[in-house]
Each structure stands twice: as C-alpha cells, then as structure tokens.
Symmetry: C2
Subunit: 329 residues, 2 copies
DNA sequence: TTGTACGCGTTATCAG
DNA sequence: CTGATAACGCGTACAA
C-alpha cells in the first residue's frame, strides 16, 4: 500500500495524499477528510526508509557500547530507548566489544545505515581507532560520548566526576576509621585511570606515600574480583577497606570475603562503583558510588537529539556523583 | 558520496560501479580494479536504505520485549544482536512495556520501519492485542515468538517446558525432604500460568489436594518478592521450601529470609527461575531452573533469519529446561 | 486547491 | 563487457 494506491482510490494525485499525511495546509477540507478516511481504512503507514531517502535523514540512532549485559549499560539502554521513541527515533544497539576490530566494524555498520546521530557509551571507546573512525565516518553527524571524551567539533561529551567520586569514597572510609584501603580495578580504560587517580590523590591527602598504596589489577568480571580478593586477603592482612572499580567486581569480592569468613563491615568495609542492583543483592548490601549513569544517559540522548534537530547545548557537561551508603561501610 | 560520484571519477557508468560493489560477474578486470580503488580511496559505503528501497528489504529486525532491564532479556538481546550482526542485519529493540497501548505503538513503529522480521520475547505478548497486531501489520513478514505462541501462518514459536520444569523443581525439593512447598509468582502471563500448572500437577502427585496448596501472588520485582515472603514467613510456618517464578523475586525472598534470620537451606529451601546472575550473587547462592533463555534466543534468531531468507524450519520447537543446583537446596 | 515532474541512491533489465 | 533507463516510495518545487 503506497501513496499512489491511496491516491487512486481517492481519485486524487499522490502529492495530495502526501500533503494530507504530513498535515500540510492548502487542501480542501472535504478532500482531506476523504483521503484521511482511506488512509485509516487501509491502515496505511508511510515507509520511513523511502521518506528518509528524500528527507536525507533516517531517524535512526546508533548506540555503541561494550556489552549490554553489564548492568549499568542495560539501565542506560532502557532510558535512551524510551527517550528516542518519544522523539520519533529508533536506536540500533551494537555491542562493540572491547577490541579495535569490532569497534571499527560497528562504526561501518552505522555509517551504512546512515544513522542521524551516534551515542557512544563507555570510556573503552576513548582510543585512536574510534576517534579516527568518527573523523572518517561520522564527520557530518552529531556524536555524544557518555563517560568519555574526544576533542572533535561534532562530538559532545557527558562525563561523571569519577576522580572526585573515588576521593569521596576514600573520605568515607577514613571517616569510618578505615585508613588502610586497597583499590581493586581494571586499569585499562580512561575511566579506570580516573578512578585510580582519585584514589591516589585522596590517599596522599591522608599522608600515604604512593609507593605504599595497594592497587590491584583485575578483569571486569565477578570471577576475577573473587580471585583478586582472595589474593588480597592472603597478601595484605592490614587492609580494612576495599574500593572496587565496578559493582560486578565488588560482588565477586563480597563472595570472597564471605567464603573466608570475614565479617563485613566489622572486619572489612567494601565500596563498589556504578550503584547497580548488585549492591542491593549481595549480603550484606554494599555501598556504591553512584556515578549517575541514568542521568547521564538521559542527558546524552537529549543532547544528541537536540544536536540533530539544531538546538544548541554545551559541548561538555559533567555530572556530580554521590555515594549510596549501605551495610558494607 | 554516491555511486554516481564514483562513476564519474572512474569514467564509467553508475551501473558498472554498482556491479563492482555487488561483486557481479562480467566486468573487465582492469575496470573492476580501478573502481575498487576509487571506492576504497573515498571509503564509500552503499546506503542501505536506498538499497532496501529497490530490493524491498531493510535488513532490519524488530525486537519486542517487555523490559530489557530484566536479566534474562538482557542476555537474550546480547546473543540475538551478535547473531543478527553476523548475518548482516540490525535489530531495533523496543521495550514494549506491559500494557496494550505500548504494544500496539511498538508494532506500528516496526511496521513503519518496514522490518524484515520480528522477534517477540516473553509471554506477556501472548494476548489478543498483539495477535491482531500481527495479523494487521506483520502479515507478510515472519515473526518468531520466544516463550509464547500464536497459531498464525507466519509465526514460529520457540518454547521452554516451564510446566515440566517446575514439576522437576518440586521433585528436587521433595527429594531433599521438603514436602511443604509454596509457590510465589506473578499470575498474569501464560508463562506464569504454565509454571503454576506444573506446581499443581507435581504437588498433586505427592498427594496434596489443590485446596491445600500455598500459591502466593506477587509482582515481578525484588520489593514485592520481599514483601510476599515476609507474609509467607508470618502466615505459613509449616513451609520448608519455596519456588519463585523469577530469580528477581527469589532475590527479594532471599533477603526476607536473611532479615528474618531463617537459615538457608537448613530451615528453608529456595528455587528461582531463569538462572540469571542473581542466583550467583545472593548469599547463599540459590538454585534456579534454567529455562534455556540463551539457547532460546539463539534458536529464535536463527529461525527468523532462516524464514526471511527462505529456509524451512519447524513451526514450533520446545527446549528442555534443567535445574542448576546451588547452595539454597 | 490540486496535479505534474523530478530527485533522493540504489539495483535490475535490456540494449548495445 | 558496459551504459541507459526505469523503478522502488516518498516529498516538494513549480505550474496550473
């Protein structure tokens, strides 16, 4: 069913039908009604693709993330999809993994789909491959980078103050009389490095030399969190508090403490980051740094659509994190 | 950059360029090379939309689910996206909530996008609204229904044996000397009703009259699971085992038992359904019925693409669930 | 107020 | 082996 079919049935031309569909003025009321009735009768829906071909847009948004299964990405996706829908856009979510090959493949796919804008989520994407990919393939559409940044004219950034956030975590632990603190996290993304920076900065404020700090490297999985925490228990008996760079890793750590019979928070305080559901599920519930992923995603989606539709926004905004305290501290 | 631009640069016609892009035979090797070089030089990518206009396909797949934030949907989405990408398709995920209005809106959106096929996930969608929606809007594209069924010519179904699965859960609990069993779950979807049916059937095998069964109604949230479990603890002191219709609800229940100081599994055995990460996170870890969501999603995606590309498959397949036993039983 | 003609970027058909 | 042309479904100047 095309506008031509409807036009024929109505005894008018296709352009008239088009005008009715798009609520353009200058149509006799009776014609408009007749066409509208036909449209409804055959429940005609315009082909967005054909429309896009002439309008030079697709109302499609590319969403790049490492892995939708991580809880904070899931929440983000949900919020973004709802917003996009409301604005008449659809999202194409690509799990672009963590190595350059997949990222560049995802970029090509989105280019091929002629998406109107791209949302990049997670600082894993803050690398040369992606930066060059944007320059080459997305130079004429807006890009919003959540939790990362590129200094390119068409890229907007929404960031969380992760460095400050971790500093506040350290402050909290110190306030709770836990000055012997370890940091467990992945060290391979800009975001992780920010967190470690915050840790170092805060610890130095409390007079710890950088050489004395306990910073353990860990993969982004529960299992890895478990293993590293076992090593921590065995190798650093003085530690009384741990900050994990992600809730998922913290969940693994919580399990290790549980298995080792270490009481939380009495013998060990634990803080995760991201404030996902994991903090609520573990026993005891663990404290987590809320880095405002939900707000970040809403902001990012809004800024992206604004940019597509010609509304102005600052190139870079920073959201302030806060700590959700639970039983583990 | 269009094929015309490339054609002009190469001094050939657009059709020749098109033929090179699509690896059609009958092009002089030298011409082919020259065009290929130009294509690469300008990193040209064909416009999928324009392509779809003439090919009458979009290589777009609609994915309908209630809420991507539920852990089993997330896992599914991940698996499906990976498969689709590999086959050259993109997915459009719509969180179609749980009421009719949203469902029909989502269906219209997908129709407007002219998706090549639709994947519906979750038995919440097994209702008249969606069935009529399919008849009206998706009558000429294949639809795969994961965890639900419609008796329509273009709909394929992939199901889990949830009724049998719950029966086996009861068997397990009885084997563990817990014959006083309660079932806690939502009663509002076909899937939930299947589970309750399995519960009733198994319990009757062990000589319990239907009237004597403890079946509590609960919303699909951790909080609701917590509240209902508190009521259970207060109101049914004889109960020694609980089957929850979803892991998320079970997680709430685990918390309620923890708060009440009830030992698991000594005083109470717990089984969840879906075998999500929640079972691993709680303390102690809880047993869960694995209803094969991951396999289901892979199968569903495969069947959908098969149908689109003209390969045959059975209209209806059933996957056998099994129980992943952990510390709670 | 309405219709004609064209173009969006691509592929397929047919002619050369 | 290659090029011209039409067509996909729609929106929009321009003409009537």
């Amino acid at each position: 069913m095309t506008i031509y079919d409807i036009a024929e049935l109505a005894g008018v031309s296709a352009s008239t039908v088009s005008r009715v569909i798009n609520n353009k003025p200058g149509i006799k009321a009776s014609t408009r009604e007749k066409v509208k009735a036909l449209l409804k009768e055959h429940n005609y829906t315009p082909d967005e693709n054909a429309r896009g071909l002439v309008n030079k847009n697709t109302r499609l948004i590319g969403i790049l993330l490492a892995d939708i299964r991580s809880a904070h990405h899931t929440d983000l996706t949900y919020a973004v999809e709802k917003y996009l829908r409301q604005k008449g856009y659809c999202g194409i979510i690509l799990n672009a993994g963590s190595h350059a090959g997949e990222m560049i493949e995802a970029i090509r796919i989105l280019e091929q789909r002629r998406v109107d804008g791209v949302l990049i989520v997670g600082s894993v994407f803050q690398n040369d491959t992606v930066e060059n990919g944007i320059k080459e393939h997305f130079s004429n559409i807006p890009v919003v980078f959540a939790n990362g940044q590129f200094d390119l004219p068409n890229v907007y950034c929404v960031l969380a103050d992760e460095c400050d956030g971790v500093e506040h975590c350290v402050d909290l632990l110190v306030k709770k009389q836990r000055e012997q603190i370890a940091f467990v996290g992945t060290g391979d993304t800009p975001s992780s490095r920010e967190k470690i920076k915050g840790f170092k900065r805060a610890m130095s404020r409390y007079g710890h030399s950088e050489a004395s700090l306990v910073i353990l490297d860990c993969e982004a999985s529960r299992e890895s969190g478990y293993q590293i925490t076992r090593q921590l228990i065995g190798g650093y008996p003085d530690i009384r508090g741990v900050i994990y760079s992600e809730d998922l890793i913290a969940a693994g750590g919580m399990r290790a403490f549980w298995d080792a019979g270490i009481q939380i928070p009495e013998e060990m305080a634990v803080i995760g980051i991201d404030n996902t559901i994991y903090g609520e599920l573990c026993c005891p519930r663990f404290t987590s740094l809320d880095n405002k992923m939900t707000e970040m995603s809403s902001e990012a989606a809004r800024i992206l659509i604004d940019a597509i539709e010609g509304r102005q926004n600052p190139r870079k905004i920073m959201l302030l994190s806060d700590i959700v305290e639970r039983e583990s501290t």
